[in-house]
């Protein structure tokens, strides 16, 4: 039995009936947000002060953009690509533990690819496949849930990048997919003592990257955040109403799409959040920042968000190199701009369903050779009949 298209069709129809009204409402909100952005573009000190007031007195969990040193509506053309520049991208994939499978194990696969502008050598790749079984299963003493395995994967990516940059002995731009922060909106996601250990490991990897002169960046394709919108809401309301969301539904890209020509980046913003505070306590140079980047064309703008840390955001040369490299990397893939090296890192790290099946058989056969009984659950057996 599959999807009941009749039921779904009716819901899709209802959805389409409300969509135009919603879109009209959002258009009005976007226009209002645009007006606020223009009115506040140079009010950097005032905006910072308002954010501090809200965080201190009304909403400590406020997550929003904070202007750094550039006007809100500032935009910058792509700098020239340096003659020599090293780019490293890393991505990870995983096989999650499945207690229904023949064998309980999990795997983390980290792929990296390095390309050097100014040299004619082809890109070099590495692949790290890390299998966990038996006593290795538990992540920091806890059952390896999907969240914990994903966290371990992300940590390994950063550690691998730090290893490679240190081995190279020269600065490099390091790219990862998604936000640069290890977790999402709340420190609670760190999960207590185990999470604290992971955070320390992550911060140590960042410290190693910084010591090696690296330029780490997280690339967020099709970003849906509203950090700037949240700032504008804070700016336009009394502090005690800071939790109100009059511009809810408007996204940052709705505004930056108006400003950024192809190849341009926006102003750099700092991130205000509880997690950002944790990073800043380790070192001010770890404070999370971001900018938006138009990697599209005149007739088809495409905005991405680039996460970076303070030590890069405050260094004009590093910022320019990152900007130039990303514009070039995205241009390689033509009509679907996305950093070429990040896509390749994903390709290198990807574990196909076929490979997963073969790995499971390999482990099962090896265990059986040693007289260990392995058996899938009845539930899985019946699923496999399909």
């Amino acid at each position: 039995m599959s999807l009941d298209y009749q039921q779904v069709r009716e819901q899709v129809h209802r959805l389409s009936q409300t969509a135009p009204a919603r879109e009209n409402r959002l258009k009005a909100l976007r226009q209002r947000a645009w007006g606020l952005m223009q009115a506040n573009t140079n009010e950097l000190d005032s905006l910072r002060q308002k954010v501090r007031t809200v965080v201190r007195n009304h909403d400590p969990s406020l997550r929003c953009a904070v202007p750094a040193a550039e006007p809100l509506t500032a935009h910058f053309p792509p700098p020239p690509l340096p003659k020599h520049l090293v780019l490293l991208a890393a991505d990870g994939s995983q096989i999650f533990l499945d207690r229904h499978a023949l064998v309980e194990y999990f795997l983390i696969n980290i792929g990296t690819i390095q390309m050097t502008y100014g040299e004619s050598l082809p890109a070099s790749i590495t692949l790290l496949s890390d299998l966990h079984y038996g006593d290795d299963l538990h992540v920091s003493g806890a059952y390896p849930t999907e969240e914990k395995v994903s966290l371990l994967r992300d940590l390994r990516e950063r550690q691998k990048l730090a290893d490679l940059v240190e081995q190279m002995g020269e600065p490099a731009i390091t790219l990862t997919d998604g936000r640069l922060e290890l977790w999402g909106a709340s420190p609670e996601e760190a999960g207590g003592e185990a999470g604290e250990g992971s955070l320390q490991t992550f911060l140590e990897a960042l410290a190693r990257l910084q010591a090696a002169g690296a330029i780490p960046a997280g690339y967020v394709d099709k970003p849906g955040e509203d950090y700037l919108i949240r700032l504008l809401e804070v700016a336009s309301q009394p502090p005690e109403k800071a939790k109100d969301r009059p511009l809810l539904g408007v996204r940052d890209v709705d505004l930056f799409r108006r400003i950024l020509a192809p190849g341009e980046r926006s102003a750099v913003f700092e991130v205000q959040s509880r997690f950002a505070g944790i990073y800043r306590r380790r070192s001010e140079s770890f404070a999370p920042h971001f900018f938006y980047l138009n990697v599209g064309r005149e007739d088809h703008p495409w905005l991405a968000r680039v996460d970076l840390l303070a030590w890069v955001a405050q260094d004009g040369r590093k910022l320019d190199e990152l900007h130039a490299a990303l514009v070039h990397q995205c241009s390689i893939l033509g009509t679907r701009p996305y950093p070429y090296l990040l896509h390749r890192a994903h390709e290198i790290a990807r574990v196909t369903p076929d490979e997963k099946g073969q790995l499971e058989l390999m482990i099962a056969n090896e265990l059986r050779r040693h007289g260990i009984i392995v058996e899938e659950s009845n539930k899985q057996f019946l699923k496999n009949l399909d």
Binding site: M115, Y117, S331, L333, G334, R336
Partner: protein, 207 residues
Amino acid sequence: MTRSIEIGRLLRGSTSGFVAGCRVPNFEADAPSLGALVRAPLGGEMQIYGLITDIHIDDDGLVRQLVTAEGVDEAAIADNRQNRTVPVEISVLAVGYRQDGQIAHMLPPRPPLSLDIITLCDDEELRRFTSAGRFGYFRHVLRGSDLPVSEILAAHIQQAHRAHTAAGNPGWAELASQELITLLRDDYPALIAVLGALGDAIGDFRF
């Protein structure tokens, strides 16, 4: 001198032929050609001989996307050729085998079973195979309904002619052509096509 072309994986095989793959860098270094005689081991001293009937390179999603850019990045080209496992596929038609030192122009008893190195036959082997019997292996090519028969035969005979001439036997190509005329005497269109291709391949050669 024997040259080896490495294959990444034997993709599929049967007693009438097999398809193997090699990486692009290896392909560039030791490029095989249409009609070339190759061999693959079959256990013990046994070798299968085959003629290359097709060489192709598949595209994939990433390659198709790369070509949409204004000018394909050189580093991306190098990365694709060096690092991505998109194989060059080489289709080989089985045309004989060697067992206990004897060459037979018959289909082998079984296909290659394991991933092995395909070897491009050197001139000495080419002469030995093409001199054994009386061109019995031509029938395997002529039987191929989906193959560019004329082109394969022309390319093969051109290569063999070169090898035989180098060993002081320029008459081999004439004998081969006469055999083709005999085999195709009842198929005039095919005969004309083959002779036309041979003429293109061997220039001023007279049949």
